[in-house]
Symmetry: C2
Subunit: 331 residues, 2 copies
Amino acid sequence: MRMKLSDLGERRIIDKIIKMLRKCPQALLPLGDDAAAYELMDDLVLLIHTDMLVWKTDVPPAMSPYQVGRKLAVMNYSDIAAKGGKPVGILVSFALPSNTDMNTLLEIMRGIEDYSKSVGAYVLGGDLNESNEIIVSGTSIGLARKNEVISRFSAKPGDFVAVTGYFGRTGAGLKILLEGISVDESIKEPLVKSVLEPNARIKEGIALAKSGAVSASIDSSDGLAESLYELSAASDVGFIIFEEKLPIPREVVEFSKITKTDPLEYVFYGGEEYELVLTVRKGMWEIAEREVRSIGGSLFQIGHVIEERKILLKRRDGSIEEIKRKGYQHF
Amino acid sequence: MRMKLSDLGERRIIDKIIKMLRKCPQALLPLGDDAAAYELMDDLVLLIHTDMLVWKTDVPPAMSPYQVGRKLAVMNYSDIAAKGGKPVGILVSFALPSNTDMNTLLEIMRGIEDYSKSVGAYVLGGDLNESNEIIVSGTSIGLARKNEVISRFSAKPGDFVAVTGYFGRTGAGLKILLEGISVDESIKEPLVKSVLEPNARIKEGIALAKSGAVSASIDSSDGLAESLYELSAASDVGFIIFEEKLPIPREVVEFSKITKTDPLEYVFYGGEEYELVLTVRKGMWEIAEREVRSIGGSLFQIGHVIEERKILLKRRDGSIEEIKRKGYQHF
């Protein structure tokens, strides 16, 4: 029977692909983790990750070519950081229509180059091809010590659930950009900026890796809820998240009031946010927090790991409900 | 002034991009070489290369999805081998329309997996995206010892010019596929096969690197003439190639007779052949040849390096002419 990709959805497609591949003996992380971790020698591990940007679906209106390049770099370095690695470089492949403006290409590259510079990494190579639509594919590499590589699969009941920053801005910001909702500039500006100029938590990832306090980690590019589901499946545990502890920015709360929407929708399902979602070993919270603070970052405790494989939300009123899985899937 | 990519052409676009990038201190090869060479530690070097396949322009009729995947792997590992590296893995990003047949995707992956297995490498990761056209981007990684990494820039006058195999099959084979030319099966089969199932010279690249006899090397994916021009520019030397020494397969000679075409057109401008084009240090020919023979490969001496930056062809009748540069360029 012919099956189209759209009959299956991204997760099932990826499962089918992973099943047909051999396991690399040098790989420290399973296929499907944020990045591949290839053990080189003497405790040194190469982290490598690839992430593609399809202009038609991934570039919101108002995003400049410079911001597109910058975002490609953020997307790619974020997964290296989530595994505890220090990004060192990126390769970039372009598929472009021949009538593309040369400045568009140069601006995309400038965005990649500038963001790479800001994290101490370099553009190492690339490829140029002709196509009908603009597609940019990045491959980031990073380095880590073997004992610092953080998987998705070692969260244990009793560990704390933590995030490195606020959630909800991108979901609200994208709604403003796509639906042209008009709100006060003081609300609009940070929301829109979160979409156009996201940041990866590079320093936080490295600090957390060094702390030795993290049992599992993922980047939140597919949204907080989806990230929790992925961690849950990989570690075979569940989570209870406390509504009162969720770091929600003032402007997301305001925006929700104005638009009569639920702020938790933005918090759990926004996506394209590049915070780290992680679990901290029992008794090691202070160590993790101190390390992240020492590099100027923040660590928010939002819940803890439970045995039952459910993703629960404890509301302010004490009631408990399941957080639904409805993160964005391709196909 | 607005400049389109098609106003500039691939080489000038790449030059402009390279100019705006910082040079990585750990990079042993300049941007624009076949692969990036990143010095890790203790003499160990990471080779990394990215190559994209756009279905519309890069997949000839009659090529199966399995062969598409296999070719993507060949394209990507070939550049690692050209730098003297041992391929260890590949990452693959897909852009696919949602109505793509699941079997098409699985067959592409099977081609990548099988060819990777045949060279001792592994699929390490990937990414899946929705688009209007099928685009597959590969990133290969390999490892080498620092003193074995072969650049494009160290060819010296007096060195020999060598290739690892025959030239001309793909040009003729593609003509058969695109123009439906009917020739005897004994001629057609090897020509068409060279297009649908190319091979990278992995073992040859590693053997040549170990020999210490190679001063410069490139893979011939853009055609023999273009490869010579690239080596010439990087090393600031010229080449004289002897027509009588060019390894031209019998079936290419036959095909040229039947179609009243010039076999040298296929030899110099075919492209999508994955032989290595290299220069061997003066006095080290026997060493290089012995190493390549020891792994079951061949090394053909086709000319030598000259000081004047020209690419010359010495005809069988003793006359000398320039080999024109007309390799395929995107845009």
